[in-house]
Amino acid sequence: MARAVVTVPARATRGEIVEVKTLAQHPMETGFRRTQTGELIPRDIIRRFTCTYNGTEVYRVELHPAMSANPLIAFSTIAAETGTLAFQWVGDNGYSVTETASISVE
């Protein structure tokens, strides 16, 4: 149930700056923690997040172990035209989650 939640306004006026909020479900294991018996827990993080708007990349994030678990990434984008915002999270151990949101621009 690898899941992500994105919040994008359903409609906007052309040229308006809209807020985008994203949450991805991930422990963001730092690679610095140890188990109770002293063994190092291997790193397991999301390394990259991208947001494309009708195919054009508008925001890209490189994440490090200092990002909190279940990372929040919130930013803005210009409502250019009606279409789809596509989000992708890629990380260690083959982690890959995609999510989309539609926006109607008048």
Partner: protein
């Protein structure tokens, strides 16, 4: 205040009794190593360019409930046009095990040069945000944060 012979012997005995894993965490050069790592990370981002104060606003709460999740927001002053925009935003810490926290690539399509996220802060420390503009210039802001430890922790932080 000096260390008495008795205190020294006790400390020496304790340090020998600490298991290997714990001793590794008590690296006496930790502070120096982290400072060097921060400088290295900074150089990787800005090269030899000069970093100026201003245009960047880094917001962190001055007192933090829990270092596992600290709200962090960066906003950079920029018209965000094709000719004049923010190209990248980087966040670095001085006392985390690794200096890099997050790096963002953006452009005019973002409309505003902002980032809101949540980060881990291992200790009371200074956090730095650096923005690279489309003309290649670098601007920065720093914030001091106090991380208090929760009283009834079940597990260690970070």
């Amino acid at each position: 205040m000096g260390t008495t012979r008795r205190e020294f012997l006790i400390l020496a005995a304790i340090s020998l009794a600490v298991p290997e894993a714990a001793r590794a965490q008590l690296d006496p050069n930790l502070a120096a190593n982290r400072k060097a790592a921060f400088q290295e990370a900074l150089r990787r981002i800005v090269g030899d360019a000069q970093v100026r104060r201003g245009r960047v606003k880094l917001r962190l709460p001055p007192l933090i409930d829990n270092g596992n999740s600290v709200p962090l927001a960066v906003a950079v002053e920029s018209p965000m046009t094709q000719a004049d925009h923010v190209r990248a935003i980087h966040v670095l810490t001085e006392k985390n095990p690794l200096p890099d926290v997050v790096s963002v690539r953006l452009g005019p399509r973002a409309g505003r040069a902002t980032l809101a996220t949540r980060v881990r802060l291992a200790d009371t420390q200074s956090v730095t945000a650096i923005a690279q503009m489309s003309d290649g210039s670098f601007w920065s802001d720093s914030a001091e944060v106090v991380v208090t430890l929760s009283a009834c922790l079940e597990e260690g932080l970070i």
